[in-house]
Symmetry: C2
Subunit: 262 residues, 2 copies
DNA sequence: CCCAATTTGTTCGTATGTATC
DNA sequence: AGATACATACGAACAAATTGG
């Protein structure tokens, strides 16, 4: 049985299948370097040949090689360092970069609060259940420390904002303990959207006494259920927590619009 | 005296750090152009100033400007065209590019079939229900045409492969009719992972008579439920469909490993 | 169909900044 | 502190692609 196929995965197929148009030199080199990374199984920390050698290897000029390396850097595949022993080093894309890039894609689509919570209602219970299997006392401590941030009335708008962010961070911490990288990423991306969406930012600056208290109750109950290892209960609590959070967000959004009309 | 801090380590925030330390000229220009696009509300089709003008505007060299534009191109924000009237045109990132970039992030994580299906079991029922509200007769026709592709015994390995791809395309078509862009994207990304993961590719080349027939039954029932507008039934069928598909995939994976050991 | 204008794409030479020893 | 190795940036020239006459 063939185990490792030479035509492995994720090769930037994207749009044009190469047979059509003459591809630009830069893009050819980008793909060539990508293949080199894949085929040689290069790990983070490994260094690519330096510019000088790449120039020779691909018979291209400095500028072209630089553009290719820049492309790889933007894609989060390499990091460029100056100085002796410097060069292009293979890295794993950071979650932040992945989210930025995906954010560019969704920028054109108009996301609503309901859209995001439709996802969260489905995913957060799953990550919570998944995280339950891996979380330890240190993890619980982190969760409780996060709750502390918003377990009191905010003094000013700035602290109120910090509390809203921390409320989302609670779920980010939970997701950290899931071993399903894709699930965790998608969950955390939803959280990031909630942090960045303009409509949400407008909502967060308003006072909202009810939401905070109820949210904490859900989260405390969640921690307890996780400690008890009660998978069904964990999911049930998170479902209710999300449904309640969505309700609050939508109500606040409607209230804001109402105020705007007056 | 200003001194460069040595601990400029890999926090790699990915997004706009405030005017902090010495950033590279290229990245400054990238952000400046990004802001220009945002602030002016530039839409796809709108043209940025040409290289010549950008060189003047930012007092940078041609190479630097080109690197900045290349960065924006890789991020899927602009498209570069040569010739008279050419230049950098604002575009919306294609779904394919977004998936490629996200694929680079997940490349380092080791995804399992179970991980992906954990997502699919949660998301596919939601997209199906969401799509139900928008799909029309043309959409149903597309779904039925897709089923035709694998509604018979494959003659050879190549057709078998095409059938596996079409089975996934069925769900891609469903997702097209959802108006929740994020939900649809995440669903289709799962489908893409199933198309590309090496372990899945190995599975698809094997004959698997049972899965095909049962899958079609689910999908035909799904179409019927969608036509009837029965939201709960749509979700229920899709849940079962996904659970069954996962079961089959895991069984085939186990069988393959068994064969591999022998 | 070719020609010419326009604009990006690529090359070379050189200089500067930066990190390591 | 100085030498070295490397990326980063500049500028001028040339090549290729696209559009319109």
């Amino acid at each position: 049985m063939q185990k490792t196929e030479p035509r492995s995965v994720s090769l930037e197929s994207g749009d044009v299948p190469a047979a059509r148009r003459l591809r630009k030199r830069t893009d050819e080199i980008v793909d060539a370097i990508k293949r080199t990374i894949m085929d040689h199984g290069l790990e983070p920390g490994d260094r690519l040949p330096q510019e000088k050698d790449l120039i020779e290897q691909y018979s291209a000029s400095k500028g072209t090689i630089r553009e290719a390396l820049k492309s790889l850097e933007v894609q989060g595949l390499v990091r460029l360092r100056t100085g002796p022993g410097g060069g292009a080093f293979v890295v794993h894309m950071s979650e932040g970069r992945a989210m930025s890039l995906l954010g560019n894609y969704l920028f054109s689509k108009k996301m609503t609060i309901a859209d995001i919570y439709e996802l969260r209602k489905a995913l957060e219970p799953l990550v919570a259940a998944s995280a339950m299997d891996n979380i330890d006392e240190a993890g619980f401590a982190r969760l409780e420390a996060t709750i502390e941030i918003y377990d009191h009335q905010a003094r000013d708008a700035e602290e109120r904002w910090a509390q809203r962010m921390a409320e989302l961070d609670f779920h980010a911490v939970v997701a950290e303990y899931s071993d399903n990288a894709l699930l965790a990423f998608q969950c955390r991306f939803c959280q990031r959207l909630l942090k960045e969406l303009a409509v949400c930012r407008d909502i967060y600056v308003q006072p909202q006494p009810v939401m905070r208290q109820r949210g904490i109750e859900y989260q405390r109950a969640l921690i307890e259920a996780m400690r008890a290892g009660d998978r069904d209960k964990v999911q049930q609590i998170m479902r209710e927590h999300m449904a309640h959070a969505e309700e609050q967000m939508l109500a606040l959004e409607a209230e804001m619009e109402q105020r705007f009309i007056e």
